[in-house]
Symmetry: C2
């Protein structure tokens, strides 16, 4: 292929600790190819394309790119924008002007959907464009992946935080409620279970969006845990919902929504405070504290899971490889886990629709029968993704 | 000295990441002495003495003690109890029964005060007792110490968290408010400034309990920062107070107080949510998020400052050495920093009253003239205590 084609890569949705690994994986792979001309990093997702705001990623040295890869959050900036038809037309015009034939979009299911819309509209408009979504979400809820890049590191934060917090609760007693990210899926909250080393270690109760939540049940569970352990640590998903599917947090959130229709759940301590207040008033427990782990779960530097980082890098590289190979022109990278004892994953190009819009939940077999814990199967599944945690010794 | 005397050691107040280093330092020092008989770890501070609940610390192997030292939170459990006269009488009776001549209490200013009360009442009651307080507080507000064991590691958490959070804010924009521990002193909030690598890195605004806080000033500052940086990250102490000295958080807290008269500030997201709501309503900024770092600041495993850990260990050992040496029988360990470029500290026994009850604030020379930042002098002071942070690279 004599003529080189330019590529645009961008990041979208919530940042993660390893989303820049995927950026580096894709960029370093593209630099090794004779087919790619310019490598343009659009700033703040499709907003950068619409505003012609790019970083020239050929100018970034490989050494610097590796340092960026090890840095949390989205180095190119992010956005939460669902492209309209008008946006798509403007995007193709911008791409035509800059001779762009490849578009890579790193993000979760909403970002995959945005990429799908761009890809389908390009086809309709007759603009020749290869579009690849590169999976990223700390929520781990893409249907195309056994687990998603970003999850392992966020899970590592959550499990570490709960490990320390459980020791804190051992020292001072009472009830501790920790609110954990995950709008629709309980993977991240479930990962709190990895904090446990000893039979009486917390979290003692785990509440997931997949299991209907009731305040009465909560009070009952906490009282039983207090009786058994003399203290209680609860890992609670920000996305818990009642039997009718209404998020418990919906009554506190200011109602702010993004253009994908998602209600703001994070960046507020309201849910934790509400649950703590309810326990104080209804369970006769005086010392109840709540923390909301918030954005630290996705951006804390220096503690990323090594496996997660390597896989994020590999997913980015795999997307570029697949795009250059040809054949599938609207793709995403599925992360497929091999059966058997030894942990191994493969990165497979699949149609983009498999990652777009719809999410998956924690499988039934990962949720304990009592509805407020995980199973040994979940632990076995999550451990290699999260990696070894600091050992904590007690007297 | 033919006759051996038993010792009791206990932990009190809020845990830290390195309070067990002090425990290990004291215990391993005591084990090396021929003067000490039994080494009893009272569980949950003076409550363990009153309830005759001890761990036999001679039975803990040195290897296990080192592993405990590296574990966050208070391995013996903690309490927040100010001893009454009646408690003191019960304590001396318990000590007499168990032949205790040395009492070590690891904690902050309230714990130092508790130890002081026990020491003074023992003298009045004619009970021969050597009492040493071992300094610990993430707040860094003991008057007897240049900085306190526990502060460096908590500061490391805060600076790391702000580093990641600032990158998150770079990616998605708007205003981010982070609420940081520190009831009366702004050291920990100020340490957020260590997150900065580049001139436009956050935190862009730092609010300390030492500087009167006004909502109008806050709105003005944020608007100016938004204009300058296009985004804004605020590090806010949980202890901020208005010009009359009334804590801003006082209007939200349920009014829960411990026996030292302290209002509960942590374990709630109310202050952050209030400030975020105020900005949304009064600054015309749509994306405002708040996180409260909460208990993670003092208990997150695996990220302690090495210097902090070593100093905490040394402070514990120094207390036992001083107690065994004789002379000062009611002491605490002052941490004295040498003048000059090279970082060096000494551990000096001083009268316990120097650590008890009264606290110190961030010195005026550490606070920027504008009232919402720290000085270069503060950074210089804090850096060696906190240690190198993960480098973060941007594009």
């Amino acid at each position: 292929m004599a003529k080189k084609t330019n590529m645009v890569i961008a990041q979208s949705g919530g940042p993660s600790m390893v989303i820049n690994q995927s950026l580096a994986g894709a960029v370093l792979e593209a630099r090794a190819s004779a087919k790619i001309g310019k490598i343009l990093g659009a700033r703040h997702g499709i907003l950068g394309i619409l505003g012609d705001d790019y970083a020239d990623l050929r100018k970034v040295t490989p050494a610097k790119m590796r340092a960026v890869a090890a840095t949390p959050s989205s180095a190119l900036g992010s956005c939460r924008k669902k492209p309209t038809l008008e946006d798509c037309r403007a995007i193709f015009e911008a791409f035509r002007r800059r001779d762009v034939g490849y578009f890579f979009y790193i993000g979760g299911n909403d970002s995959a959907d945005a990429a799908r819309i761009v890809a389908e509209e390009a086809e309709k408009a007759g603009y020749p464009l290869v579009v690849y979504h590169i999976p990223k979400t700390i929520d781990c809820d893409l249907r195309s992946c056994d687990h998603t890049p970003g999850f392992g590191s966020a899970a590592r934060f959550v499990a570490s935080a709960l490990k320390g917090d459980d020791l804190d609760n051992r020292a001072l007693g009472g009830v501790k409620i920790d609110i954990i990210m995950g709008r629709d899926a309980g993977f991240l909250t479930a990962a709190g279970a990895l904090a446990r080393e000893r039979p009486d270690d917390g979290p003692h109760l785990i509440y997931l969006p997949e299991v209907p939540f009731s305040l009465d049940g909560f009070v009952k569970d906490v009282k039983a845990a207090m009786k058994k352990y003399g203290r209680c640590v609860c890992a609670v998903s920000e996305g818990i919902r009642d039997a009718k599917g209404v998020p418990v947090a919906a009554m506190f959130a200011a109602g702010e929504k993004d253009s994908h229709g998602n209600l703001q759940l994070s960046g507020s301590g309201a849910l934790g405070d509400f649950l703590a207040g309810h326990l104080k008033a209804n369970a006769g427990i005086s010392r109840v504290r709540a923390d909301t782990f918030g954005y630290l779960q996705r951006s804390f530097p220096g503690i990323a899971s090594r496996t997660d980082g390597e896989e994020a890098f590999a997913a980015g590289a795999a997307a570029v490889k697949a795009a250059l190979k040809g054949g599938l022109t609207k793709g995403t990278i599925a992360i497929v886990r091999a059966e058997g004892k030894r942990y191994q994953v493969a990165f497979a190009p699949v149609p983009i629709a498999e990652a777009a819009k719809y999410t998956r939940s924690l499988p039934r077999e990962h949720i304990a029968r009592n509805g407020h814990d995980v199973t040994a199967k979940f632990i076995e599944w999550a451990k290699p993704i999260v990696g070894e945690l600091p050992r904590c010794e007690i007297i």
